[in-house]
């Protein structure tokens, strides 16, 4: 096994006007090549911050993140990011969005055109190539965003609650599509979610994080054969177990919220 992403004793704090918030504390985590890892935890546990550090959008206050042995300082297309808010460029058509990274890399039209057409076909978007993002449903927009990062064939995908804003049915079908793509393309995936079921459905390995300051509470392999069935007894047992862990953190989160509310 080769390590892809490595987090070395990461700490992250943000300073506001009158206080310093410790978001992450002593995180050590190694994610292997080709592994599908879910970061699971309640809101405010710093899982998105950890992902942003891996993307190179923020640099941690302490420690370092490296990808394939090299320390991360900047965003790079080798770690393609998929956002919950899609972040499609609304002034570009679907195909121009997908072509954006290839154009930035300086590819010629002869390379870009077939590559974009291929990806749109793969994600069942061909007939929407000329449409504006605003014309698409949430699920389709997220498929465009996935096609946009896949265009550059990144070895690693970072996904920040990508299906969080979608309805349950769309979510299910996108989860299946993502697994399909993952097994086909063999990419490393780091997937942030607060849904326990989603994590068990998708991941090889689940990292449960604590409420602020975010630490690794539990790091476990999911040894269930794919395709996984949420009605399965083993699935449910794991769901129960992780549920208790996550709910404990959720209560810590709610208590902290209540405290800060009364303090105001």
């Amino acid at each position: 096994m080769h390590p892809a992403l490595e987090f070395h004793s990461i700490a992250q704090s943000f300073t506001t006007q009158n206080s310093t918030i410790q978001v992450l504390e002593s995180i050590d985590l190694t994610i292997q090549e080709g592994e599908f890892v879910c970061l699971l935890g309640p809101s405010g546990c710093g899982k998105s911050t950890l992902l942003n550090a891996a993307a190179g959008f923020v640099s941690p206050t302490q420690g370092q993140v490296s990808f394939r042995g090299k320390q991360i300082f900047d965003p790079s297309p080798e770690r393609g990011m998929v956002f919950q808010e899609y972040a499609l460029f609304p002034w570009m058509s679907v195909e121009d969005n997908v072509a954006f990274g290839l154009e930035a890399r300086g590819e010629s039209k002869d390379i870009i055109k077939p590559r974009v057409a291929d990806l749109l076909a793969k994600l069942r978007l061909s007939e929407f190539a000329k449409r504006w993002p605003r014309d698409l449903s949430g699920g389709m927009r997220q498929r465009v965003a996935i096609a946009r990062v896949l265009a550059l064939d990144p070895p690693c995908l970072l996904m920040d609650e990508p299906f969080g804003a979608l309805d349950a049915l769309t979510r299910r079908s996108l989860q299946d599509e993502l697994l399909q793509l993952w097994s086909e393309l063999g990419k490393t995936v780091v997937f942030v979610t607060h849904s326990i079921e989603e994590a068990i459905l998708l991941a090889d390995r689940i990292v449960v994080m604590t409420h602020r300051p975010g630490k690794v509470k539990k790091d476990c392999q999911v040894d269930l054969a794919r395709p996984r069935n949420p009605a399965d007894a083993a699935f449910n047992a794991l769901k129960q177990e992780l549920g208790q862990l996550v709910m404990a953190e959720q209560h810590a989160f709610e208590n902290a919220e209540r405290l800060s509310f009364t303090a105001d």
């Binding site: 965003p75 609304p90 002034w91 570009m92 954006f100 930035a104």
Partner: protein, 269 residues
């Protein structure tokens, strides 16, 4: 037909106003010197529009003759000044606004100066403009450019500085260079703001051109209105004002078309 109904509804108020106006004039309640009837104004407007000389194929083509009326030459003169002055103001304001919007330190540096200069109406520069540029087109163009400059500048700064950072993160993640991000992401994201600045800027330019023509030049709609006042041609004053209204409307419609085209990706357009 719904659009016919809509047009009828839109025409009702102007027609009502004209009717009342005509009745007031015909009843002799006001002197025609102070307020000529709409009918008289309409006649004057047509006279102002049509060529004053008879058609002479020896010296001009048919089109040249048709367009040789005083109104068309005045309107053309005013429009030409607006376009030239606006372009000048726009070409200076846009790059400055883009740079200032993207650079917070430069913004802190230049903002106090801009905030003091901005509220000074372009009209207040007239004496200086004449001192600096003399009479004729240069001071007029200067004033119009000034009128267009600030709205475009302020809106461009606002547009650029409030580009949603998620677009910038996505673009950086996809490997775009600073230049590419600026041209492909920041500029289009700021476009709704820039275009509304352009719209305000053209409005101001049009306002300023009329005043500038009253002072510095001897043609154009503003000049013609003032000239008509000298001779107590009230009908011509109103005909000139009406022409200004028509051109303003035409510019606004053209801007609306441009907006719809450039912002066709935008929600609610």
């Amino acid at each position: 037909m719904p659009w016919l109904k809509k047009i009828a509804r839109g025409l009702a108020a102007p027609l009502l106003l004209i009717t009342i106006w005509q009745v007031v004039c015909q009843a002799g309640w006001v002197s025609p010197q102070a307020l000529p009837s709409p009918y008289a104004v309409g006649l004057k407007w047509i006279e102002y529009l049509l060529p004053s000389q008879p058609y002479d194929p020896a010296i001009q083509t048919g089109w040249m003759w048709l367009l040789s009326g005083e109104l068309l030459r005045d309107a053309g003169g005013s429009l030409w000044r607006v376009i030239l002055g606006f372009m000048l103001g726009f070409v200076l304001a846009l790059p400055l606004g883009l740079v200032m919007g993207a650079n917070a330190r430069l913004r802190d540096f230049a903002n106090p100066l801009i905030q003091v200069l901005r509220p000074i109406p372009p009209i207040a520069y007239i004496p200086l403009a004449i001192l600096w540029f003399g009479l004729g087109n240069p001071p007029a163009i200067f004033l119009i450019a000034l009128g267009a400059f600030f709205p475009v500048l302020m809106n461009t700064i606002a547009g650029v500085s409030q580009v949603d950072s998620i677009y910038l993160r996505a673009a950086r993640n996809l490997g775009a260079s600073h230049t590419r991000i600026f041209i492909k992401v920041i500029l289009p994201a700021a476009m709704p703001f820039i275009l509304s600045g352009v719209r305000i800027g053209i409005g101001t330019a049009f306002l300023v051109v009329i005043v500038a023509e009253m002072i510095a030049v001897n043609n154009g709609l503003g000049y013609r209105i003032l000239e008509a006042r000298e001779y107590f041609w009230t009908d011509k004053i109103i005909a000139g004002m009406f022409s200004i209204g028509l051109i303003g409307l035409a510019i606004d419609l053209a801007m609306d078309k441009l907006n719809r085209h450039l912002l066709r990706w935008h929600r609610g357009m």
